[in-house]
Symmetry: C2
Subunit: 326 residues, 2 copies
DNA sequence: CTGTTAGCGCATTCAC
DNA sequence: GTGAATGCGCTAACAG
């Protein structure tokens, strides 16, 4: 509302120069205890807080971390964001969150806006991103992509889970339970989806089974319609879905058709997001180690700040969380 | 990464003063077309973007809008955030999103952090907030609360839907469908929950029916357990839940117990969030006009900037969206 | 040692 | 069209 007190106001009130206020408030030595106390008291009385903008402008570091997330409506994404935030906080970094980066145009705009604010680093949480955009952003601040790109993007670090291995875990579990007609349902032609699909196909082959991939187009704000029903009508005994959101849809449609899960149809999802616990029956799902992924993303940025030049692409190992659906 | 080009670099390259660069780039008159073109070209070649921090520091306005949301895991909240963002963009405001304000301590910290960045205004999207915290934040920038507080907080504008009326819509719909044993399930002692409960009780009384409120404690990250089952065992013919999340739980537990919805149990939720479309059967729910709410929140801030001193508390009218669950 | 002065960082604005 | 002042906090160099 009213203009906030500045360092000059504090200095005046404490009867010292503004330089000393700066030193005192940041715990520098070379300030006598008595004076420091006076300054701290003055600051307290005025409700002074240093202006983050001014500080960031003067220093090279803003201590700001930009996080761009594709959308807020996939629980897995928001869970990754939270883990990034936790890690950031531990290093005294403030997170600025931007979302809606599902379209390249908006993604570019968000990245630019964060860059304009002098963020020290960027974390992009998305299952897809235009390499050129990432590289453009990386000219301003180091960028870490949490999620897959088709192939490594030069100059961009990345953190991922091993989608192929995750898919193999799902298939292995279903095969061990005696399933043979195992379908893979996917709606995505994006990298993570492709990797899971490839992992599924490889695992099926390894078990001597025929891969059955069904691509289900998903409408915006809707659960997949007729395509999904048609796929279920084929009589598979088990389904490995590309992610929890789609596994959730499978459960819904199975419910509509009176198919009993898991007896009539076993379902395995991917991400182990909050959705897995909301589902009935509770969803068996491949867990991505998101807490580690967030921490690692921040760690990679810190390494860049310390001068690392070579790209790093970290791939973490997922694990299967078995619940009631398979 | 490398230090970004400044206005001085552009000025040097175009052979003019930096003042003129500033004027030209912001479309001021009084710059000859030829010169302007030279300047724009120079800026383009250098990839110059004005430093948002420096601009905010110089001007009184930062054009930054802070949005604090209780949590990212309630779809209704994130949908409100998106509508605020859309409205903000139309006025050239950038949104800085912060979350995790479920605890007062963290809320205070987030508000402070945004204040340090000189946001021009704050929107708090939450079903609860400590009035003292809001007022503290309001000393730095105008604050709008989207959601209910127990009573109006002096100095803080608010945007809400009429919870009492929404509850009455739900009850009216169920009564019209012939229901008499209508329970209200709630887990919340927070303002919005209380208002809906009061609205439910009033509506039941108006219809000459006995109110049946059941308070179901919800564990973190879990759907309500035994309490919910016990309530369902009482044999109500319809349930009005405090919000979609809890209505979703009701559907799950009904499913567990083999209760057919809506034949054996009609269910109505509140918020009409994305969850309503995920539910099976699709959830009948009270719709809060979130698009208008977001736009209104931004509008209220703009009025404050224009000098309005009196508080405004806007209450919008909800409507019932009838789907399959009731 | 304790504290001050001067100037920086970047874009905007006003008097000339 | 320009130079100088401004906003706010940090910091190098300097004085007591």
């Amino acid at each position: 509302m009213k203009s906030r007190p500045t360092i000059v106001d504090v200095a005046a009130r404490a009867g010292v120069s503004k330089s000393l206020v700066s030193l005192a408030l940041r715990g520098d030595d070379g300030v006598s205890p008595a004076t420091r106390e006076r300054i701290v008291a003055a600051a307290g009385e005025l409700g002074y807080r240093s202006n983050a903008l001014a500080r960031a402008l003067r220093q090279t570091r803003s201590m700001l971390l930009g996080v761009v997330v594709a959308s807020l409506d996939n629980p897995y994404h928001t869970e990754v964001v939270e883990s990034v935030e936790r890690a950031a906080e531990q290093h005294g970094l403030s997170v600025l969150l931007a979302h809606g980066a599902r379209k390249a145009g908006r993604m570019a705009e968000r990245l630019d806006a964060l860059g304009d604010l002098n963020v020290d680093g960027l974390v992009v949480v998305s299952s897809w991103a235009d390499p050129a955009l990432l590289q453009a952003a990386a000219r301003r601040a180091p960028v870490v992509m949490v999620g897959r790109s088709l192939e490594p993007v030069a100059g961009i670090d990345s953190v991922n889970n091993d989608d192929e291995r995750g898919a193999a875990l799902a298939v292995g579990h279903l095969v061990a339970a005696g399933h043979e007609r195992i379908a893979h349902l996917t709606a995505s032609r994006r990298p993570a989806g492709l990797a899971r699909r490839a992992g599924y196909e490889a695992a099926m082959a390894a078990h001597g089974l025929a891969a059955q991939v069904r691509v289900i187009e998903r409408e915006r704000d809707e659960t997949a319609g007729p395509g999904l029903d048609a796929a279920l009508a084929e009589g598979f005994s088990a389904v490995f879905a590309r992610n929890d959101v789609e596994a959730f849809d499978v459960l819904d449609h199975a419910w509509d058709q009176g198919i009993d899960v898991p007896a009539g149809l076993a379902v395995v999802g991917y991400d182990d997001s909050a959705l897995a616990l909301r589902a009935r029956p509770r969803l068996t799902s491949v867990h991505q180690p998101r807490a580690e992924m967030g921490a690692l993303a921040v760690e990679l940025l810190r390494e860049r700040w310390s001068g690392r030049a070579a790209d790093r692409h970290e791939v973490l190992t997922p694990r299967l969380v078995v619940r009631a659906s398979a």
